[in-house]
Amino acid sequence: MNPFRAAIAVARKDLVSEWRTREMVPALAQFVVLALLIGNFGFQIDSRNAPSIAPGILWLALVFAGLIAFGRTFAAEREQSSLEAMLMTPASPVAIFAGKALAASVLLILCEVVLLPALWLFFGTPVSAGVVLAVILATIGMASLGCLFAAIVARVRARELLLPLLTLPLWIPFIIAGGQAVQSAMGLPGSYDQAIGLLIDFDILFVVLTSLAARFVLDE
């Protein structure tokens, strides 16, 4: 079975299921807007300091929205015990994992479609193509790691506790490079090209590593 077609089929299944229920994307969108609201009250934001504070709020909102999104990726499969059924098909576990990660990243990108304009609207910071590129590149790597650990903790009792605990430290490289890229795209000092280069490197590294590990995690 062609692994790419299998992965696309799994991603399509997840996205169709989301389209029919429309649960995750509205909830995530509301969550990120609430995070901006908290950021507004937590800091004294005005037009001068907004460019230095907004990137931080952006990453905080994105990271926690990501945790919610990836935590839910395997929740439905667990409730219906459908993961076992999927693993019995000729599709390889790596293809199934890639499909799940792809669908979760699409959901997170949809949530960024709300987050970035809201950031521009509330904080007046420029949301350029550079910001969008950095956020999407970080989303790819974060999704691969987040889905791997979501798959791992899906069958563990304390999964809500464990997922953030395991995923957040591993996301730090993406926050460092992505944070730097967004900061320089918003006019703060720092090399944008170098940060984007690092993000691409990290994406390749972690997508390859998580695909290798997915075999051990899903192959039960």
């Binding site: 464990l162 430290p169 490289p173 990290f202 590294l205 590593l209 590990a213």
Partner: protein
């Protein structure tokens, strides 16, 4: 005295000797004064921590390939001892930093990556606590251990373009006077012996705890022998 007790006594004696070398043999640093003596144990315990996490990595990788539970127990032992040595490194480093840089903490590459190292392996220990012991937990922990090991150099690399306060590797580029170098190498050797002994003891404890789970205690067997109930051990 059992072999483990002899080994622990030896390790403690070696550490006392290292302490004597640090305070009485090594010369006082011209610029920093007595506080520079933190260096010997600070760097040694960082190296010992890396060694412990290498044990976690190897144990995890071997477990994933062979399902050998001894490898998993070595990994568990390495993680616990590694977290202890990372804590020592961080605390001693913070004390030294306060004296030399004027602040307990700066977000420098090496400090950040060491903190992430600590968080990842403290997380590893929590994973072991929050999961039911068994194959699932061991596989999960193995993946965490492997990704943790990969993540730390990546974090280090990605912060390096920030201004770094931490001194570079002084040992490699011949910056240490011979007496300091000798003290450092001796302390590092003693710390590595201590770490190895601690891991071995912890491995023994993990083995006993695994055995306790496999073999039901007499009390549990007695409880199941109720009238009308099915006799036999419970898990």
């Amino acid at each position: 005295m059992s072999r483990l007790e002899k080994a622990s006594a030896g390790a403690v004696a070696l550490m006392a000797l290292a302490g004597a070398a640090i305070f009485f043999y090594a010369p006082t640093d011209f610029l920093q004064g007595a506080v520079q003596r933190i260096f010997y144990l600070h760097v040694s315990s960082a190296i010992a921590a890396y060694g412990c996490f290498a044990v976690v990595l190897l144990g995890g990788a071997i477990f994933l390939r062979t399902e050998n539970y001894a490898a998993d127990r070595w990994a568990r032992a390495g993680a616990l001892v590694g977290v202890v040595f990372t804590t020592v490194t961080l605390v001693m480093g913070m004390l030294w930093a306060k004296k030399v840089w004027g602040a307990f903490w700066v977000w420098d590459a090496r400090l950040t990556s060491t903190l992430v190292l600590w968080i990842i392996y403290a997380g590893y220990l929590l994973v072991r606590r929050l999961t039911e012991p068994g194959r699932q937990a061991a596989r999960l922990a193995a993946v965490v251990g492997i990704f943790g090991f990969v993540d730390v150099p990546v974090v280090h690399f990605s912060v390096t373009w920030w201004v770094t306060h931490h001194p570079g590797p002084v040992i490699i580029n011949d910056a240490l006077p011979p007496q300091m170098l000798a003290t450092f190498l001796f302390t590092m050797l003693c710390t590595l012996v201590l770490a190895a002994v601690m891991i071995t003891i912890r491995y023994r404890i993990e083995t006993l705890m695994d055995l306790k789970q496999l073999v039901p205690s007499p009390v549990q067997v007695v409880i199941t022998r109720e009238p009308g109930g099915v006799a036999g051990p419970v898990q």
